[in-house]
């Protein structure tokens, strides 16, 4: 696909995965270039979140391999996997903040767990990261006292606290107003430029994500439908990509979750 081996941060080969009988991935190859922002686009329910969890080693593929920094994620012992994860951040779709800790303590959590930094240093780092997401003033609040969009920003501050080399964002822009969205987009780009962070962004906000990403994959139905630079994706003549970019309900990407009967039969079927 792109560039030589060492430039590939995450390499996915022949990935197959299913939940029971429901096939989520059916032979997928992906290369996530190092130090770049890669977008993963795809309709709701395709398995984007699942892909991030597979890369993070939370779930195990049925077959195929996922390598991060040349290391097969699913062939590691638990402690090796944890070492790998210290260099990986995953921003959950839900934020996944610890509800018994304040905003400040949530961001401090990975620092306290993994470093022996003095309290004053932790405080500075936490405040810097909270400032970056515009929530320094909310540090005393608890997760139940902040909105969904704010939670996700706190989660972002927490995810970058340990300065990971790879960060995966699951729908970071959902629930953000245009101003915070702009700030977050700039933040992601700054992190990427300043620290050479590899970013994977899963999102529905196609326009915004394509505007900051260096490369993009369009996935649907367990396959990679299209990939390339944002320009290439925008210009792509592939029906799939076009349908997705322009949000049309009809086309090769089905809007409907697969049903066993057609709609008319389902409605006409008499109730026993």
């Amino acid at each position: 696909m792109i560039s030589p081996d060492s430039d590939i941060h995450v390499r996915v080969r022949g990935l197959r995965f299913s939940f029971g009988p429901r096939v989520i991935y059916d032979g997928v190859d992906l290369d996530i270039p190092r130090g770049k922002i890669t977008a993963i686009l795809g309709p709701s329910g395709t398995g984007k979140t699942t892909l991030l969890r597979l890369i993070g080693g939370q779930w195990r593929p049925k077959s195929g391999s996922i390598e991060v920094d040349g290391v097969n994620v699913h062939k590691q012992s638990r402690s090796q996997l944890f070492e790998l994860r210290k260099r990986m951040g995953l921003l959950f779709q839900s934020g996944a903040l610890l509800t018994d800790l304040s905003v400040f303590e949530n961001v401090a959590f990975p620092l306290r767990e993994h470093t022996d930094l003095p309290e004053s240093m932790i405080r500075d780092l936490v405040l810097m990261n909270l400032e970056a997401v515009g929530l320094r003033g909310a540090r005393e609040l608890y997760p139940e006292q902040i909105s969904g969009g704010m939670s996700r920003r706190v989660a972002l501050a927490r995810a970058i606290a340990l300065e990971p080399a790879l960060i995966m964002f699951d729908e970071p822009f959902t629930g953000q107003d245009p101003i915070s969205m702009g700030v977050l987009i700039r933040l992601v780009r700054t992190l990427n430029k300043a620290q050479g962070l590899t970013s994977i962004i899963v999102s529905h906000d196609v326009k915004e994500v394509l505007s900051i990403s260096d490369y993009a994959y369009v996935i649907s139905g367990g396959k990679v439908l299209d990939h390339g630079t944002p320009e290439a994706i925008r210009a792509s003549r592939s029906e799939y990509a076009q349908q997705f970019l322009h949000g049309r309900p009809d086309g090769p990407v089905p809007f409907h979750y697969k049903a066993s009967k057609n709609y008319a039969d389902d409605l006409l079927e008499s109730v026993e």
């Binding site: 969890r53 993070g56 939370q58 638990r78 944890f82 070492e83 994860r85 210290k86 990986m88 951040g89 995953l90 959950f92 839900s94 996944a96 903040l97 610890l98 509800t99 959590f109 990975p110 767990e113 993994h114 927490r158 340990l162």
Partner: protein
């Protein structure tokens, strides 16, 4: 037949999973001991917050025993042995068992619900992704705190039931048993190993309740229904095992 064997298979699978989980927890305990702050925090949640219910129940159980005991003992003109009667029943049986049942209802259910909700809201997988092992960070301190809390709460229950408010209040202050006799008889008859056996029982019950509640929470289905089922199962299963185990332990101790 096949339904029966299904239930059996399900039960054995659960038992295997729970046993394996217990081993994982035990392996995480030394690490947890190095972070006493987390344990103290949990001791507050499972221990201190259970105090009120333990103190009140202990007092009432002692008062009831004194009333009942006094009536029966007075038939034999043996009311001076009231202290022995109350303290034997309390120390050997009621303190560990009633404390365990109350503890399962108050602290065990809370633990299961808390852990189940953390799971349902991705907090546990969030930790995993931050390379923090939830068994070490969340489960082990709670497990240890429950273990430590049980014998302490049992002792408090016993003290309330025999001395402070329970048997002493009714027997000595109300029914007029001589205070010196009340305590003297207890001192003469209650042997140290009665107390030790009582604490051993409570420790066993603590292990059972701690194990069941963290297991139920950790393996709860990540839904509201799953969490509610985990909470209920914790109380039901712990209570049944506590009474069954009490019989076994008692049989061993009074051979």
């Amino acid at each position: 037949m096949s339904r029966g064997s299904n239930i059996l298979a399900e039960f054995l699978r659960g038992l295997g999973q729970a046993t394996f989980f217990l081993l994982t927890i035990v392996r995480a305990l030394p690490g947890a001991l190095l972070r006493p702050r987390l344990i103290v925090q949990q001791l507050y949640h499972v221990g201190v917050l259970s105090l009120i219910i333990i103190v009140i129940s202990g007092s009432f159980v002692g008062m009831i025993l004194a009333l009942q005991g006094y009536r029966t003992l007075s038939h034999f003109g043996a009311t001076s042995t009231l202290g022995v009667f109350v303290s034997f029943v309390v120390v050997r049986e009621l303190a560990p068992v009633v404390t365990a049942l109350l503890f399962a209802g108050r602290a065990g259910s809370a633990l299961a619900a808390e852990i189940g909700l953390m799971k349902a809201t991705d907090q546990l997988s969030g930790m995993e992704m931050m390379a923090v092992d939830p068994v070490k960070r969340v489960i082990a301190p709670r497990f240890l705190a429950a273990l430590i809390a049980m014998p302490l709460l049992t002792s408090i229950f016993a003290v309330m039931a025999i001395g402070v408010a329970g048997g002493h209040l009714i027997g000595v202050d109300l029914l007029g048993v001589d205070q010196g006799t009340y305590w003297g008889q207890i001192h003469a008859e209650l042997r140290p190993h009665d107390v030790v056996e009582s604490l051993i029982k409570s420790l066993f019950f603590g292990i059972v309740i701690a194990w069941i509640s963290v297991y139920q929470g950790y393996f709860a289905a990540p839904t509201s229904e799953g969490v509610s089922r985990a909470t209920t199962s914790t109380v039901v299963v712990s209570s049944l095992i506590v009474v069954g185990l009490d019989f076994v332990l008692t049989a061993f101790m009074f051979r």
